[in-house]
């Protein structure tokens, strides 16, 4: 019988079982790395560094996981905080802003196609809308869970998802069903 996330967390808490924590990492690494890749605009190396930081922080603070939310939701919140802290630090250190990142990304997109257009459209969304759309529409979180992850009011999440979707639909109108 496969152990649940709660069972594995209990093993980490009681026995400091690093094998159990390894199983948690194996289960959630794809989702966390995927989310961070999207947030960092497909900067794979940075996303993986942040994902590693996320899991290390989760291990150190696992006592603060109270089981009120899903373990994955808790991880997403840590991942999002890691991303925000890193983005703030980078902006302070080298002055990178959204426009610069966008220009950098535009030059990398060479292949046409729906997937590329979708990624490009996603990257054009402001961070608050992009995060909300990624969490709710791509990772299947409820609005309430996304509000916890992003630490913003529920109404704001709903608005951001709605606006983000509207913009995506407009940008991808050529690909949509007629």
């Amino acid at each position: 019988m496969e152990l649940t996330d709660a069972d594995l967390v209990a093993r980490v808490l009681v026995d400091d079982d690093q094998n159990a924590f390894g199983e948690l990492v194996r289960r959630h690494q794809s989702a966390v790395r995927g989310l961070l890749r999207q947030l960092t605009r497909t900067d794979v190396a940075l996303a993986d560094d942040l994902a590693q930081q996320t899991f290390l922080r989760a291990y150190k603070n696992i006592r603060s996981f109270r089981g009120e939310a899903r373990f994955s939701t808790w991880l997403y919140r840590i991942a999002y905080n890691c991303f925000r802290e890193d983005a703030r630090r980078r902006k302070e250190l080298v002055g990178i802003d959204e426009e610069q990142l966008q220009a950098q990304h535009d030059s990398q997109v060479a292949n046409p196609g729906l997937r590329h257009d979708l990624m490009r459209a996603l990257n054009l969304l402001p961070l608050n809308e992009r995060s909300a759309v990624l969490l709710c529409c791509q990772n299947g979180l409820s609005h309430d869970e996304a509000a916890r992850v992003l630490d913003i009011p529920l109404g704001t999440v709903k608005t951001n998802v709605l606006r983000g979707r509207e913009k995506l639909k407009r940008m991808l109108a050529d690909w949509g069903p007629n």
Partner: protein, 113 residues
């Protein structure tokens, strides 16, 4: 209806734009960076267990009148027929072996997971 179709299409494309990412050593790298397991925790547990065992033994010794029950039990055992002593020893041995085997099997399962 058209809007519903378009939303479904958008959701599907968004989900498909996030394929499964192979581990490729990621978990191993994370585990390598973890701090060493808490040995102090196990030590504390061992100290508590040994301390409680010692206290319980002292309490049992005092309550039983200086361990007189041990000599009484030995006298009774000596008075038993040899066959009975053999059966008791065999039953005790089997019980201990069964407990040991169960513990070993559960430990093996835990290390496999």
């Amino acid at each position: 209806m058209e809007q519903v179709n378009q939303e479904d299409w958008l959701d599907r494309e968004l989900r498909e734009a996030a394929p499964y990412i192979d581990d490729q050593g990621f978990t191993a790298r994370v585990l390598q960076e973890l701090p060493a397991p808490r040995r102090g925790h196990d030590l504390l547990r061992a100290v508590i267990l040994l301390g409680m065992t010692f206290l319980a033994s002292v309490l049992a010794y005092v309550v039983s009148g200086g361990g007189r029950f041990v000599s009484v039990t030995l006298e009774r055992l000596a008075a038993l027929p040899a066959l009975w002593v053999f059966v008791l020893a065999l039953a005790s041995g089997l019980m201990i072996a069964a407990v040991g085997a169960t513990a070993a099997i559960s430990q093996g399962r835990a290390s496999q997971t």
